[in-house]
């Protein structure tokens, strides 16, 4: 068991290296003077050309690329992400503010999509080819067809402007920073993000549960005299939810990607909006770091997903699939 976990987490290292390399070369290819992105701009203001050249030498910008990469990686691990061109503050500080905000709405969206996707998918499987099945399918497909930002604007019109129940955007009111107070800012963005995922989760749940329901061991359970509801909860669901968990985790990168647009609509200060604003301002040091962070997050999550699967399925745990 422990071996499996260690092996799984070690297996992400090569990917991690390739991802960081891609970002590193992406940064190398950026137009403009790299010095401006690496050094605190206040320190460098009014520096002479000689001083800048000295600094360049000191930072090793004239070293071979591989050496630079390794040093850069070391800096990243120390938390030195460079400086933003526009706000002149360290990227680490900016991201540290924005990261939790995105994590909150993506997490809530994930919970939302998982709950309704599983619930509706199970309903479809248990009542297949009935009105309930078709109804759920249509709702799900509507969710994946209406663009999130369009739904967002419609909901802002309805709940924020007409009914005035929820704010039009932002993350918190001054003075009220608790999670509960923030919740009303998170509801609409999370809904818009999660709604588009329901159809996929539901379809996967339905197909997976139906597949398990036809397995012989379900007949065995029935032959024991178990109740239909218990059979579904204990035997069908437990086996049928593994592909759904993998799907959910695989789709997390879609949520993070979608957060760019949704956060912009709701003026929600997360990483997605940070990315848009920094791209619009050609501040690529920030944009690249957001991209890197998102990729690393998705990578780590996929490993966590496999660990969850291993906990659920002994065949994976004992290394025999």
């Amino acid at each position: 068991m422990r071996q499996y976990f260690i092996a799984r987490f070690l297996s992400i290292i090569p990917k991690l290296l390739v991802i960081t390399m891609l970002i590193f070369f992406g940064l190398k290819l950026l137009p403009g003077d790299p010095l401006a992105r690496l050094v605190n701009p206040e320190e460098m203001s009014g520096a002479s050309l000689e001083q800048m050249e000295a600094k360049r030498e000191e930072l090793g910008l004239n070293d071979p690329v591989i050496v630079q990469y390794v040093r850069w990686l070391g800096n990243m691990l120390k938390g030195d992400f460079g400086y933003s061109l526009t706000s002149h503050s360290p990227v680490r500080k900016i991201i540290a503010q924005r990261f939790p905000a995105t994590l909150e709405i993506c997490g809530l969206a994930m919970i939302f999509a998982a709950f309704f996707g599983l619930l509706m998918g199970c309903q479809c499987a248990r009542h297949r080819n009935t009105a309930l099945d078709y109804g759920n399918t249509v709702i799900g497909l509507i969710g994946s067809s209406f663009p999130g930002f369009f739904v967002a604007m419609c909901l802002i019109m309805l709940f924020a402007l007409k009914l005035k129940w929820l704010p039009t955007g932002g993350r918190m009111t001054v003075g009220e920073t608790g999670l509960l107070a923030r919740l009303k800012y998170m509801v609409l963005p999370s809904f818009c993000l999660g709604f588009s995922m329901i159809a996929n989760v539901m379809r996967m749940t339905r197909d997976s549960m139906l597949d398990v329901m036809n397995r012989d061991y379900i007949t065995t359970a029935r032959a024991k005299g178990e109740k239909e509801g218990v059979i579904f909860a204990k035997h069908v669901f437990r086996n049928g939810c593994t592909p759904v968990i993998l799907l959910l985790i695989g789709r997390f990168s879609l949520l993070v990607g979608g957060s760019t647009i949704i956060e912009t609509v709701f003026n929600y200060p997360g990483m997605g909006m940070l990315m848009i604003t920094s791209i619009s301002a050609s501040d690529y040091q920030v944009a690249m770091m957001v991209l890197l962070l998102a990729a690393v997050m998705v990578l780590l999550l996929s490993a966590v997903g496999d660990v969850i699967i291993a906990l659920l399925d002994p065949r994976v745990r004992f290394g025999k699939a």
């Binding site: 012989d216 061991y217 007949t219 065995t220 024991k224 005299g225 399925d313």
Partner: protein
């Protein structure tokens, strides 16, 4: 029904499947009676409805299947009252109380019949706790004893293992343990050894005979293998196209087969010492499409002895010697 000597009696059972707009007539008119404490064999080609008949007994049918008529009388206690299983609600409490406790069933493919994510101990426990009020320690002891009785080595350790750690034969033993843990009166084995190696087959079947000795369980073995019938069963029923065409003791059926179909079945089993020049009998043609309802004897198109009467209607079951029933106008072609 004589509940003293009979544990299960099936009368005029009909089971059908709705497949799209078609109806499949899987079980057409099955009459069968299983003697208490006997091993009853049911034999027939694949698709003859033998498995469906047995699944109908416990109503373990797919959602598109339904019972179109007939009775399944089951008498758990000798001399007690018989209850009609065919009239019960498929998912109802009465039916669930029978399943696993009074009548247990094991299936053709032991590889797929155990839930991969639970230990085998907990899967046996599930059946026990459903029907009996025992505390977990006590239950565990009983399960381990049963596993030992069924020839599973190191039962304490195996109790906590998962199905994928067991071989096919061992899995079938676990299935038997699930079936036997509540000491059911009747054990239905639906092709229990078809998916297993020949050497394992004999072990599993012998095990079922031992269970009958020790627990007094009546056993039904469904198979397409006449050799298994000859070796392990007391009585046998021969099925063709959803009907029992002939039934009796194994001796009666093998020595004095009446129905042309039974005769062909008996003669297509090679017997050791048989002269090499003797041809094994084959049955010409193939089983007709079950989605077409017949208005006369289903075997007629393949029968060498068919007469005008065979094309007009269904033969009634006749007792040709005590306990030996046959449904055929031609009665083995002697007429």
């Amino acid at each position: 029904m004589d509940t003293q000597n009979t544990i299960l009696q099936i009368d005029h059972l009909k089971t059908r499947f709705k497949v799209g707009k078609k109806t499949v007539y899987a079980v057409n008119d099955v009459n069968l009676s299983v003697a208490r404490g006997h091993v009853q064999g049911i034999v027939g080609e694949s698709g003859c409805g033998k498995s469906v008949t047995m699944r109908t007994v416990l109503q373990l049918l797919s959602p598109n299947a339904y019972i179109a008529g007939g009775d399944i009388l089951f008498a758990p206690e000798p001399g007690g009252d018989a209850i009609d299983l065919a009239k019960m609600d498929r998912y109802g409490e009465e039916m669930r109380a029978i399943r696993g406790q009074k009548i247990a069933m094991i299936f053709q493919n032991p590889m797929a019949s155990l839930n991969p994510v639970y230990t085998i101990g907990s899967q046996i426990m599930e059946n026990l706790l459903l029907h009996e009020k025992v505390d977990k320690e006590e239950a565990k002891k009983r399960i381990i004893n049963l596993l030992a009785e069924l020839g599973i080595p190191e039962p304490e350790q195996r109790y906590n293992e998962y199905p994928h750690q067991f071989s096919g034969g061992m899995k079938q033993r676990v299935m038997i343990a699930i079936a036997m843990i509540c000491n059911p009166g009747l054990l239905i084995a639906d092709e229990p050894t078809t998916a297993l190696d020949v050497t394992i087959q004999a072990q599993i079947l012998r095990l079922m005979l031992e269970l009958r000795e020790h627990h007094g369980t009546s056993v039904i073995i469904v198979t397409h293998n006449m050799g298994i019938i000859a070796e392990y069963c007391d009585d046998v029923a021969v099925m063709y196209m959803g009907r029992v065409v002939e039934s009796g003791t194994v001796r009666q059926i093998f020595q004095n087969p009446q129905h042309p179909y039974t005769r062909a079945l008996v003669r297509c089993v090679p017997v050791p010492g048989m002269p090499k020049t003797n041809d094994l009998e084959t049955i010409s043609g193939s089983t007709p499409d079950a989605s077409i309802a017949f208005d006369h004897c289903e075997f007629e198109p393949r029968c060498k002895f068919a007469t005008e009467a065979c094309r007009k209607g269904f033969p009634q079951a006749v007792e040709c010697e005590p306990g030996h029933m046959v449904s055929c106008f031609a009665r083995g072609g002697q007429s």
